[in-house]
Amino acid sequence: MTPTAPSPRTLRTGLWLSFVFMLMALAVFAVSLKNRQPHRDGTLIQVTASGCEPARLEVPAGQQTFTIVNRSDRAIEWEIIDGVMVLAERENITPGLQQPLTVRLKPGDYAMTCGLLSNPRGTLHVTPGEAAAVPETLAATAFVGPLAEYRVYTTLQMRKLQRHIEALHQAVVIGDLVAAQNAWREARRIDQHLAVPIGLFSDLDQHLNARADDFARRDQDPEFTGFHRLANALFVTRSTADLQPMADQLVRDIKALETRLADAAIPPALLASGSARILQAWHDRQTSRDALTPQALDDLKGLTEGVAKIVMLLDPLLQQQAPDTARSLNAALATLQQDLVEASAGSADRHVLEDSAALAGELSSINHALGLSG
């Protein structure tokens, strides 16, 4: 059977269709060409031998592209500077050539470096623009910086803790009560700085921080170990006798803590919720008592120092997402820090008690503001 020739009508339709496809392909090609022309995008800045032209720029907030043209006779760099920090830079622009720089800018005033360091700096004024009213949702990578910095903090604190625990162990072994008391205080302060991550490991938390009340036979219970067990001996009985097994146990627990912390991934939501929890726990323990013991006050100082680090890490994100929440959080922290300076143990001063609960309350509201659940 011979194939039948297509009818002229089918041919015409086919031709017409291929013509349409070709047009579409050309259009796609044209669009792609357009996207590939980065030159002279956005705002044009010329850097001459004596400075930037124009020397003053104004752009709206958001993603901005600058095209920097080097009109001087030496390779230059161009930077946007926020205070003393370089916010964005384009280095090694060859004389006669141009380079683009794209950066996301928040409203405010910035400086521009313009070639020679002895040249006058330009100014860059970023206006709020239209989109600035609605905060953008945080990028998935927004917490990488704060979490990494928190890991650096816990690593460095852990190193200090190990030094103090070794000193404590040594003092117990040689029976030096004063040295043991001092080392205990130093170690306990760091243990409180690390209360949030230690809370991740309930077994170690119990070994290190449980109190006599938590055990059936109270301070006679063989399971009772850690900081409070040692404190009973060092500050109440005022003796290092028979303490070495406890000190050995503490060294082992701190070693285990170091290993686990090195591998622990702390979820971003835990920074705030964990801080709220430890402050609330301290508060709840103290409300039933008539006066603060020196130890309770020292513990709160340590906890507050650890929480202050977390607040500092979350603050830039919070400023962006919920400036009002950031303000009241910082105010609650400042009040507690101030009252801690003035507080003295044994007095009936209840300010730090209220302050700790207030800060815990502020902390429990910020995960929502940061779009985190937990």
Binding site: E89, E91, T113, L117, S118, T141, P146, V152, A265, L313
Partner: protein, 279 residues
């Protein structure tokens, strides 16, 4: 489904395949550890930078030209390794590491301070005369840098981008020999920039490898290649602390041979940010 509906759907699918940026499979959580490790690396180097600067500036104040000359390059190493972070502070970087060409009046400019001002005194004038103020200023600025970095939350983009930035720095100022024009200790800085870039690369390598094993392999080879050339100019390969020959002694063939791998390294390393989902 008939053909008329299927074709455009297939076309759309094909277009999407080509036009969507590759979705980074690296989870942001995985970046936390390497960024933290990098800060610890920078803090270690800062500690060394502070102690070496103390010895270097003490030698200048004591008027010991020979000792100060010997300490110049080994001190700078710690600054050059951590440049991606040190450069974030525009004011300090200018006071610590600017070159005379950054100023209209060159060496005579009263604002020209830091390592290279001292280099000019030690290696051009062979003297420490009038340098006490500059030495003290350098020490103060290094101490300020140290305390600022302690408090700094490292921006992940800067950390990952730092590897490429260091190699661009090498390409722009080290191969040409303009960095240490009086002391001719450029190779010390060169190696330090490579060390700093390699540290960043090593920390993120396991993550980058999952995304683009070929590029990672090429980066590794080019690092090895560059370091092999550098190694030929070590004063004593058994004792790396003795450093390098003067840059004048590097042959033109080797200078040219360095340009290629350094440029490719800078380009390849600049893809790291995208591979790790940080663009």
């Amino acid at each position: 489904m008939n053909l008329r509906n299927t074709l455009p759907a297939l076309g759309a699918l094909a277009l999407m395949t080509f036009q969507l940026p590759a979705q980074a499979a690296v989870s942001p959580d995985a970046l936390v550890g390497p960024v933290a490790e990098y800060k610890l690396y920078v803090l270690d180097n800062l500690e060394d930078l502070v102690s070496h600067t103390e010895a270097f500036t003490a030698a200048i104040r004591a008027g010991d030209v020979d000792k100060a000359r010997a300490l110049y390059a080994p001190t700078r190493v710690y600054y050059e390794r951590i440049e991606p972070i040190a450069e974030l502070f525009a004011d300090l970087d200018a006071r610590i590491d600017a070159r005379e060409d950054d100023y209209e009046h060159g060496v005579k400019d009263p604002d020209f301070t830091g390592f290279h001002r001292l280099e000019y005194a030690l290696f051009h004038d062979h003297s420490t005369k009038g340098m006490n103020g500059y030495a003290q200023g350098l020490m103060d600025n290094i101490n300020t840098l140290d305390s600022r970095v302690q408090d700094l939350t490292f921006p992940p983009k800067t950390v990952v981008g730092g590897a490429a930035a260091l190699m661009e720095e090498v390409a722009a100022t080290k191969v040409s020999g303009e960095e240490d024009r009086y002391s001719r200790t450029d190779l010390w800085d060169f190696q330090a920039n490579v060390d700093g870039a390699r540290e960043i690369f090593s920390l993120f390598r396991p993550l980058a490898e999952q995304e683009d094993a070929d590029t990672v392999q090429r980066i590794q080879q080019n690092f090895d290649h560059v370091e092999a050339i550098l190694a030929e100019y070590r004063v004593d390969p058994q004792h790396p602390e003795k450093g390098f020959d003067a840059y004048d002694e590097v042959s033109d063939t080797h200078r040219r041979a360095l340009v290629g791998p350094v440029t490719v390294l800078a380009e390849d390393l600049s893809t790291l940010r995208g591979l790790l989902g940080l663009n």
